[in-house]
Amino acid sequence: MTVDKRITLEEAIERIEPGESIALGLALEHAIPFAAGHELIRQGTDELTLIGPISDILFDQLVGAGLVSNIQAAWVGNVSIGSGYRFREAIEGDELTIENHSNLSIATALEAGRLGLPSMPTRSLLGSDILEEGPFETYCDPVDGEEHVLVPAITPDWAIVHAQRASPAGDVHLWGNVGVTPQAVGAASDVIVTVEEIVDPSVIKSDPSRVAITREQVTAVVECPFGAHPSPLAGYYRRDHGHYISYGQHTKTQGGYDTWVKEWIFDIEDRAAYTERLDTSLEPVSADRAAEVRYGR
């Protein structure tokens, strides 16, 4: 009875047009949709606007591939070592523009989008150059008479989310910290969900309070095990710190990046082949079952 939204990762990413805006890396360093990002690189979808709070190295990888025209973010780099060298070089060489945000201002912009509002206030940013240089306006609130900042809504063309499991229809179980995932999914026009496992709808429906994204928000569902590597996914795998450090070491120059991207993206057939290359065990320990929950009718 329900629409089956399962397609391949390749098919899902093909729906994204050059020049569109994509929110991703929404749970901060958790559950970053690296597999989807790598498929964007493989397809060469360019002139993109990237949106997110803390992108860790996924934004840097997309910038290194020459696909990014604009970034709206609070922080872009490599959390394990600091700088993202491809991002730095592109910004310093005026190859891309950035709209600097704080985490709260990007969360507020996406929340306004989720709620269908043109803008929303914050008490943050006052006194900063983020405010001075950004798309913000100050106003005097009629209720408390104080100065606040109005953050214009951000409504991405796409949000890409990696999660633990989903039904074929696109109802998604996601656990662990979620950052601005609810805001970005609510604000986006279309949503691609990659998951470790596509499961029978009865699994999802057994726990409707665990559902973070529902079918009418979702354009495509892709089964993609290990799709967040090297970022961690609660219940599935730990963070691969060495991968971040190695990426940083190898991408200080564009030539280094070109070698890296060939080895880790272009020369790799699919995500399964990618996974086989990893030589470290990332399986979580102490992964006991969470306390029981029942509903009933």
Partner: protein, 266 residues
């Protein structure tokens, strides 16, 4: 953020980073709700909650809320050990709402540059025609604006103390000397700066002053590092500049449990 804060101080039994972690941990009071950022603050919270502040609660901008140390070493606040057996793993607005509402007692900040009034820059440095791009604010601007008080951690290098920061990522106090009352944001502003050589306070005008120097550091060298005439504790409360208490053996043992390979602290 820089990657290479790893120059251990010769001849002591702890690194400057370990001392910074211990000094930062002491700024957390028992019962505090603390907004914890990446790197050294993660260690400072873990140390404080394991020693003198067992009821300190940590909010992380990712949505994680914890009441105890992560069981094993973490690179990021989203590493599974920091989510595992957390008090809650929720979303950013759930924790940032508490920050904006005024419920956070203390927040931590790092910086590449600092001015006399505690304004911080993690966005871009260097001349405007040839800037060097840094990663940006993350949650730093929000913590600076909204936490009741903040503690700033910075590697001590003369070039980081500047008359005017290139970009105000995280506002401190107004440069007109009007102090906390002059801030447009609700938070009261920075309480401390902890560097790898000394600790500093901020006086009623919001101006930085030297409080303590770390063991083995010549106070005059701190003055020499500054592009302005640095105030000291004597001008604020007539107490002499003291010496920063080094980490105790128990503190060191804990820090090395949290960071066993010295990734952040060597």
């Amino acid at each position: 953020m820089d990657a290479d804060q790893s120059s251990a101080t010769e001849g002591t039994e702890y690194t400057p980073q370990e001392l910074m972690v211990a000094a930062a941990a002491r700024e957390i009071y028992d019962g505090d709700t603390v907004f914890v950022g990446m790197r050294l603050p993660m260690l400072a919270y873990q140390l404080a909650v394991s020693t003198h502040a067992p009821n300190a609660l940590a909010l992380f901008e990712s949505g994680v809320i914890r009441d105890d140390p992560a069981g094993t070493f973490i690179h990021t606040m989203c590493d599974l050990p920091n989510q595992f057996e957390a008090v809650a793993t929720t979303d950013m607005l759930a924790v940032m709402g508490r920050l904006q509402r005024g419920d956070v007692d203390l927040g931590f900040l790092g910086t590449a540059e600092i001015d006399r009034f505690g304004n911080l820059n993690t966005t871009r440095v260097g001349p405007s025609d040839d800037p060097i791009r840094l990663p940006g604010s993350g949650g730093a601007c929000d913590i600076a604006c909204l936490a009741h008080e903040t503690v700033v951690l910075m590697r001590h290098e003369p070039r980081r103390f500047v008359d005017q920061v290139t970009y105000v990522t995280s506002p401190g106090y107004p440069t007109d000397g009007s102090g906390a009352d002059g801030r447009p944001s609700p938070g009261a502003g920075p309480r401390r700066l902890v560097t790898s050589k000394a600790t500093f306070g901020f006086d009623d005008c919001g101006e930085l002053y030297l409080r303590t120097v770390h063991p083995g550091v010549d106070p005059q060298s701190i003055h020499d590092d500054m592009p302005w005439e640095l105030k000291t504790r004597e001008t604020v409360d007539e107490e002499p500049v003291g010496q920063t208490a080094p980490p105790t053996p128990d503190e060191l043992e804990l820090i090395r449990t949290f960071d066993p390979e010295g990734f952040w602290t060597s």
